[in-house]
Symmetry: C2
């Protein structure tokens, strides 16, 4: 009898089926946690090959786990005993249409490659996060990745016009349309985006591009509390015509931890503040981007004027505007070091949570109370995308007692839910948050998700054990 490995080789070629030591690197995730060993790693080169693999898997009831950049933070690609379907070879950037502002890409295209390719046309694909040098668009779509510019451009799903995917049965869904309006039946695109590869394998997409900003104005802001910050954000949005690209939260404890990790870094302000915000606005307007005689761009002058007015209102307690690209880079380096700063301490308690914008201060207050109640010496170094209501709760406990870690984690999650929030803002469910799905997801929604999963994947072979908890 032909083995699965032989059958895979007959589809993609022997060179593109990895087993044993060759497959071993795929058995750990990005954070080097063991994920279990796959049967084999298959590296298809075409959508037809993906479809053939899915038909094989469906007929033989063999689990398939799609993987692109392997930068999941939620165990979304654990593949013990499964065919690991690597999209890495399908990495073409097929077409860029500058006047229509679209790009046609394959699932294995790396984000930074897409960024580079569209930059040549004065355009951006505005999906930016730390792992952009290895994350692939297929994974970003499958997890509906967020990042630092969601406040301006939306999540990954908002940047995708068309999609192609292979269903668990091997059927190809071709919705590769470059359209801004297409009301022709159920929106399968949005169903497949964010499904974490459990409903279909995304093989290609049409991306929506935006004009590249000609100039940025970047600042560090300090406020008394997050309600003031929301007021500031709304004022800045009005005063800049919606030009805010990033509005990122860093508490004092994070600034301290950053300085510990990077001793050559500088304090953001001459004084120390409890709440530090990285603000960036950007413009595509030539008249706002051309530096004046003083070397300052009109957009930077406009930002300084807006901040001056807000300062007089008393809501803003300190502000520093980057005077050049070096200072801008310094501000971003501080924020983007978060993953590295977090690794300074083990254990760490983390939650990727979101609440309505007007509930952020209440959530922060409740988090402080939870920590005070269970581990008052713990250090809360939570950073977040304040403009999206999204916190990456990160807490260094003072104790090794995992019962304490668990209670903090679960009370922070419950506080989030009680404020109308989500226990999974942008990292997805994977294997890590299935219990939270059981506890917190609306039962009617869970039942509908299960019905859809069964309808599209009757044999349960595609990325089993992810997203949906056992019934």
């Amino acid at each position: 009898m032909q083995t699965i490995v032989d059958a895979l080789a007959s589809i993609v070629g022997t060179a593109h089926v990895l087993t044993g030591a060759d497959a071993a690197p795929y058995a750990v995730d990005w954070e080097e946690r063991p994920q279990g060993e796959p049967i084999a790693v298959a590296r298809p080169g075409t959508t037809a090959e993906v479809a053939a693999i899915m038909r094989l898997a469906n007929e033989t009831r063999t689990p398939v786990v799609p993987i692109s950049g392997n930068t999941s933070l939620a165990g979304g690609t654990a593949a013990k005993g499964a065919i690991l379907l690597s999209m890495a070879r399908m990495n073409a950037i097929r077409d860029i249409h500058p006047s229509a502002r679209t790009a046609v890409v394959e699932a294995g295209a790396i984000l930074s490659s897409i960024h580079d390719a569209v930059a040549e046309h004065g355009l951006i694909f505005p999906l930016f996060f730390g792992a952009r040098g290895s994350a692939m668009i297929g994974g970003a779509l499958s997890t509906n990745a967020g990042g630092s510019n969601v406040v301006r451009y939306g999540n990954t799903r908002d940047l995708c016009l068309g999609i192609e995917a292979v269903l668990p049965t091997g059927e190809v869904v071709d919705l590769m349309r470059k359209l801004h309006k297409d009301n022709s039946g159920y929106d399968l695109r949005h169903l497949l985006i964010g499904a974490e590869g459990t409903l279909g394998v995304i093989t290609a997409a049409v991306l929506k591009l935006h004009p590249a900003p000609l100039a940025h104005a970047t600042a560090m802001l300090a406020v008394e509390n997050v309600n003031d910050a929301l007021g500031l954000l709304n004022q800045l949005q009005r005063r800049t015509g919606g030009a805010v690209q990033a509005f990122e939260y860093m508490p004092r404890a994070y600034i301290d931890a950053h300085l510990e990790r990077f001793p050559d870094a500088r304090e953001p302000f001459s004084e120390s503040h409890a709440i530090n915000i990285l603000l960036e606005i950007a413009t595509t307007r030539p008249d706002e981007a051309q530096p004046g005689n003083d070397g300052q761009t009109p957009i930077a002058a406009h930002l300084e004027a807006a901040l001056g007015a807000l300062f007089e209102d008393g809501k803003l307690i300190d502000a520093v505007v980057a005077q050049n690209e070096t200072q801008r880079a310094e501000m971003w380096a501080r924020r983007e070091a978060a993953a590295e700063v977090c690794r300074l301490h083990d254990p760490i308690i983390v939650n990727d949570i979101a609440v309505p914008l007007d509930q952020m201060q209440t959530l922060l207050d409740q988090i402080a109370a939870i920590i005070a109640a269970h581990d008052p010496d713990a250090l809360d170094i939570t950073v977040g995308h304040l403009g999206d209501g999204n916190l990456h709760f990160s807490c260094w406990p003072s104790t090794e007692d995992t019962a304490v870690h668990d209670v903090i984690h679960s009370e922070v999650e419950q506080a989030t839910i009680d404020l109308g929030g989500s226990f999974s803002a942008e990292h997805g469910i994977g294997t890590h948050k299935r219990d939270s799905m059981t506890k917190h997801k609306n039962p009617g929604a869970l039942a509908a998700m299960r019905a859809i999963k069964t309808a599209l994947d009757p044999n349960g072979i595609l990325n089993p054990g992810k997203v949906l908890p056992d019934a």
Copy 2:
């Protein structure tokens, strides 16, 4: 045995079940086409009542057709022999959260009521189309309605953060979250939006609001061809920082027809042009909205400067900027009269189509060739949302021969598909376009839609005969 009508009365109260003459007005659509008579019209007042009706219908295998403002253009609410579920009583605007820029509304809330309610807070819900005085948000969500501001704010689905719906089994899906990031399982919100009430009855939603513009600048533009228009649009987007709110297409034949219907109206330009575009930009920036000594706002001056530069490039052949609110209203009245102008002539051939932005000129050329081939004396008065690649093809044939009408309709549709377009841009499928689904929708996508429909509505009772063609 209790009849369906009695059972409905026991759920919603006798006063809220209409039959016979009381139900008759519901048996015609907005364009006064007969839709078939329902068994009864039920007017629930709560989500629990909707759920009880769905359970009754599911147990008794009685079709249910949800209806809100009855402004469908696609026969989406034809209800012969069905319970017609009117959402009109569930019209509360429950909450507005100005700082978080969200509104919580029930499905029966009329669009213009939502507009008025949020205006008090300096905010807009930017979904604008002709029927806004009677269309309800439940229907707008169910059809993912478009309109005139999609180029800036997106379609209805882009303006919805959370949703509540009752599934065909009576189960309630509660996803009423006011979140900008929520990756917790499959995106049922986007699946229910645009499903035209065939997968669930939308009962409430969380809407995303935007700051109200403080000033508009509106102009009529004339160009040689639509490729030039696309270049203009891209230039204007860059030069205004993405402030374009509307970019609407009107050909010469439409201008003539408009003048025929409204003899007191004026020509848009002193000279006659083949391609006329209504452009509007808007600003929330106080510094751009304050009129100067000459009475002109900076945004209007900025637009005039931008148009001046484009004129010198030779892509723009004429332009008139509205000098006051009256002139702005006149420009909009010309465009918004389209539905009324179309009624001047019967028969009319219509297609609601979209193509990629860079294929618009080719599509217009092909449409001209199709008309020339089959009915050279026909008058093409197509208007459209050029910024979205969306044309409302409208043609007055010179012949009564329906075979000619059909061939023009079907060749325009085929040309659209061949250019990578959609046969249904923003009006939906309803009953009218099911044949086009069969002809043009990707078979893999159709199969997946059918599987999802069966999974969520195993007895096929919710809005049967809509969207999906018979297998």
